[in-house]
Subunit: 673 residues, 2 copies
């Protein structure tokens, strides 16, 4: 029997009670009413939206006072903590507490976004792309209309305005954000307790992590007025309690076709894992040279190890033949020209070697355009300066998306960041990433005369781009300035500026058109009850706090402070199980039975780090910081048998702030009603 | 001008004074006379041969008393130390000292070889391969004559008899070894001081390592009589002193053609580095789970990290365009059918994808035949049992080389070794290596039904091969036993027994024939004055103890005990810079100015670990244990500008044995004249 589109789509209906990362404007009211007897009110939703925060460096957070106080994960704040640290004063390792507003430390390049409004612009975007257009023309038309919509919205509202592609191309929504760029550090605990267990316990449970960090947003030099905030709950949730996660899940792939997932398994993930392991080995080697090298490399090391572990779990998930067989059985219309067939063909094109090199198109894109071959902050700055000189004179609709309208201000925040850049680490990373390009058979002209190590040493030690003033001058001088520059990093960025981006983007366009058709068919049967894949935009998930079984034993739904001391003793208080001195010396002051971390079935993914976890009353009961390893496969399928997300309990944070950190003012602000 | 064979070969003449890993039967008498006014006597050579030891697990050593006492590196003994360790008694970490012969610990599967005689069998081997034979026929003929020569030699002398291929096929020499399999552990220091600085300082200098370990060989239950031994010198060599290294360098590639080196750069090394980084990440992750996991994984971890670092250096060497350009300029006859052209074509064939899979022939060989995809001791045992059942009934000349004559006894030592095998580590490694096969696009039938993790769990937990008696029974039962076995590891080994080995070996044969022609031409001009590439057989190298410059500063030729304490303090005595308790507590008893490690220009490579370092009098002044990173490129070119090999001084060993380890009996035996 030939499967119809309808039958095919039925296979993708959610099977589990708590699956779903729901759009704020398509909330799961019915499900919550039916399954949990919970009435999702407009007030609850409005606060979830206006008090939830997107950290532009890849995480989530929430307002926890009307004076702009923000809570997120320590590991989301880590990048900023490192930028504020010096050899003498290592805030990332030792923590920080501002006793008063005046003590708060200004962050060099942090941008926080708070969603204010969503407008459906699907019809406008889709009508700009006419049937029969060649992919290049369709891509240009889509880019142009999206740029126009964003620009109009910004002009009208003054808000950062992003057009978000949902359902891989099924819907287009305009997201308007309030943007905060004056962000100050309020409090961070020691890295050792925030990341207790390190890479060993990452993606595991039980856990004992105080993975929190507080910032404050300012406007006009004053703490911002943020009437929408989450009241801090002094009580932890219990087994079976309903909780909500309001945050910004990064990426899932659940609605992708079988061919796309096969491509991920056979191409994208193997490549990315190889790249990450290469980078991790290099960074570990560098960090081992001494404490200062370790301090400087630690940010890159954390994110690399974290990604390696997450993607290893994803890859292992796709290696289970039953998972992919189910996906394959759920679709069947691979006849010529069907959307599934078009997506399949796009994968073949991505996996095709380019005529000039042994790299596949996808690898060439990742290495040369995404910059995997040029792992250097100074290089990234140089590339932006080179491209800005070309792009800024163009009309907005024709520019590369990152150089358009409201995005330019965000880019400049990064480009002109005063955060220090370590030349030695830059040289090591650029040598390594260029060598990696060579390992994969990639080539650039410079290799004919110099080895990767020689190139990296020359351009890193010769460039003046470490100086923010030099960057500003080059930016101001535009095309002429770039053409005249003899800075070796600028010259190098110019020499490697040709990448297969256009061809890659055209394949994205082809896939978007196909997914649009698949989504339209799905909408006819399911409406929009199945939420779109995650897009690092605000979503609401829900679930219950719940124990689970593993290897025949029961894993309780929560841990306590006592467990942290036991775990540390087990490992003789050795890194990464070393408790900070203040924990060891003040153990007697702590109520050791205080709930520390807890798990729930709610549907989360990377990007949800720092997400507010709310109870039925909309109060903050926890801050999400991880999933267990059973949850790593959630990119492709939701499961709640053993998969859990992990949160640090607000009760634990409160008790630690009071008892160990002497943070009375902060506690007062959190508990003020 | 068309380059002639003669001109081409001139390019490969040695340019440096101390280059060369010389064959024992082609000693560099003239060079030593001319450059160092040293008369290399027959007595010196005879002792160098009969007192030098090959450790079959990949290192070197030497006799240091007439009672079979052997010195080597701690890192060469590490595998045995680990096999003798338990959770409760970790000899690898804590060291060991036998106060009397009776306390010495029998090693489960160590085989030591001592060269007795070399016979040139080139004419016999080459005449068996007739002009015009197809590669398969030539390979069979060569295998057959080599098997015959070995078998005859063994029958005549009772000595292990290996035919060694020199000059990549230019010469064939028969090496006759005395074999010791009753080997007992005498003394090992703590891992922390043997491997001081760990992976961080590996391939670096200055160094402070007590990288030594003592064994004793037995015959008929008694310490073996070993009249050829190196007298232990109490004095360290000084700057400019001539020293000799008599050991077993593993592999060099200096006489390989340009095409072969390009293939190494573009295929072999990138693949191997990728494999090693995958394995290292996996092992690190496992080792981090707890102290017992760390103990069990440490052997694999050391060898993986060591290889990764060495090969990274090799790869970086080949990325220097001047190095390869020189190699390319030194040869030119790529006309059709020339030996260089034939070797080039063989490289193309190795890099060709096989019709059934996206793996190149070389990758398929490494993964499926060398076993990179099946990283498990139990699997290796199963594969041997499966193949032995097929091979043993055949005439020797038709068997795979590893299942012939005298080699079988060595193989049985491994196969029936009582060394413990940890099931959990086996499962983790097999899961990882099967996943790696998948990452590279490789396939085996089992993947259709199970993921790598599922396969590994099933076969590792289901097999009975951890029991040595089960292995012996299966071996004894031969083909019938294997056919009837339902052991899941045996079934798995049978299922993956088809590999591209025959095709790979035929390409080796084609290359050997080409190298034979290149070597013949070289012999006409240079004779055999340029030594052959290293083959893990006995070689004599020489050089001078010599400081060098780095980053504008001078690196002195030796370190002292004082330096070890300084380096440790610099790193707050943290791993891998932690000195053992006895070092810290007895610091005052040590003469801190005692020379610890020293460097010389002598030509060494991996495999030389544990090599005796001799002075002009033929006395032992040091034990080689490493090269510095400038020496990593020595696989391809010798250099003595900065490249040095690193030795632990005999004086340091003596002082430590006396002062810290209370090893009076051992010291007495070493110093007895």
């Amino acid at each position: 029997m030939k499967k119809t589109l309808l039958l095919v789509l039925l296979g993708t209906a959610p099977c589990f009670a708590d699956e779903g990362m729901f759009l704020p404007n398509q909330p799961p009211r019915e499900l919550l009413r039916k399954n949990y007897d919970f009435e999702l009110t407009d007030a609850f939703l409005d606060r979830a939206m206006k008090a939830s925060i997107r950290f532009n460096n890849g995480g989530s957070g929430g307002f926890v006072s009307p004076r702009g106080l923000v809570v997120t994960n320590h590991h989301i704040g880590a990048d900023t903590l490192q930028k504020l640290s010096t050899k003498e004063n290592n805030l990332l390792a030792n923590g920080f507490l501002a006793k008063t507003d005046a003590d708060e430390r200004k962050c060099p390049d942090l941008e926080l976004n708070v969603l204010q409004e969503i407008v459906d612009v699907t019809a406008r975007v889709q009508s700009a792309v006419k049937a029969g257009m060649e992919p290049a023309a369709a891509l240009a038309a889509r880019k142009s209309i999206i740029a126009k919509i964003s620009k109009e919205s910004f002009a009208k509202t003054g808000l950062r305005s992003d057009v978000v592609t949902l359902y891989q191309g099924g819907l287009y929504h305009l997201y308007r954000y309030k943007k905060y760029t004056d962000v100050r550090l309020v409090m961070a605990p020691e890295h050792a307790i925030a990341a207790f267990g390190g890479d060993v316990d990452n993606f595991e449970f039980p856990r004992w992590n105080l993975d929190v960090c507080f910032f404050r947003v300012y406007e006009n030099g004053q703490p911002a007025h943020t009437p929408s905030y989450f009241p801090w709950s002094a009580a932890s949730p219990g087994e079976g309690d309903l909780v909500f996660v309001s945050g910004h899940p990064g990426t899932t792939n659940r609605l992708e076709t079988h061919a796309r997932l096969l491509h991920r398994r056979d191409h994208t993930l193997p490549y990315t894992l190889q790249m990450l392991r290469h980078r991790e080995a290099l960074l570990l080697q560098h960090a081992a040279k001494g404490p200062e090298q370790k301090r400087l490399a630690s940010g890159d090391l954390y994110s690399t190890a974290n990604a390696r572990k997450a993607l290893t779990g994803q890859f292992q998930g796709l290696l289970d033949p039953t998972l992919l067989a189910k996906k394959g059985a759920a679709e069947g219309d691979l006849t010529l020209g069907s959307p599934w067939d078009n997506i399949r063909k796009a994968q073949l094109a991505l996996a095709q070697k380019t005529p000039q090199s042994p790299l596949t198109l996808e690898r060439a894109y990742f290495l040369l355009e995404r910059g995997d071959a040029f792992d250097s902050k100074l290089f990234k700055i140089a590339r932006h300066l080179v491209r800005l000189a070309d792009e800024l004179p163009k009309p907005e609709g024709e520019r590369l998306p990152e150089y358009r309208g409201s995005g330019i201000e965000s880019l400049k925040l990064q480009l002109f960041s005063p955060a220090p850049i370590d030349a030695e680490l830059e040289r090591v990373k650029l040598t390594g990433s260029l060598s990696f390009l060579k390992e994969l058979g990639g080539d650039i002209e410079a290799f004919a005369k110099e080895s990767p190590a020689q190139i990296a040493a020359r351009v890193v030690h010769g460039t003046k781009l470490a100086d923010v003033e030099v960057r500003k001058q080059l930016f101001a001088a535009g095309k002429q300035g770039i053409d005249a520059s003899q800075d070796p990093m600028i010259l190098f960025a110019k020499a490697v500026n040709q990448t297969p981006r256009q061809r890659y983007d055209e394949l994205e366009e082809i896939q978007q058109q196909a997914y649009q058709k698949i989504a339209d068919a799905r909408f006819k049967t399911h409406g929009q009850s199945i939420p779109p894949d995650a897009t690092f935009t605000l979503r609401l998930a829900f679930g219950v706090v719940k124990s689970y079984e593993e290897d025949g034993g029961k894993i309780p739904y929560q841990t306590t402070f006592a467990g942290a001391f036991a775990r540390s003793a087990e490992h003789k208080n050795r890194e990464p199980f070393d408790l900070p001195p203040r924990w060891l010396s003040s153990r007697d002051k702590l109520t050791l039975s205080t709930p520390f971390n807890f798990v729930s079935t709610a549907d989360t993914i990377g990007g949800n780090s720092g997400s507010p976890v709310l109870n039925r009353a909309g109060e903050l009961v926890g801050i999400n910081f991880d999933r267990n390893r059973h949850g790593l496969v959630r990119n492709f399928v939701y499961t709640e048998v053993q998969a859990r997300h992990v949160s640090v309990s607000c009760e634990a944070v409160l008790h630690a702030l009071r008892t160990l950190y002497g943070a009375e003012a902060l506690v007062g602000e959190l508990m003020k009603r």
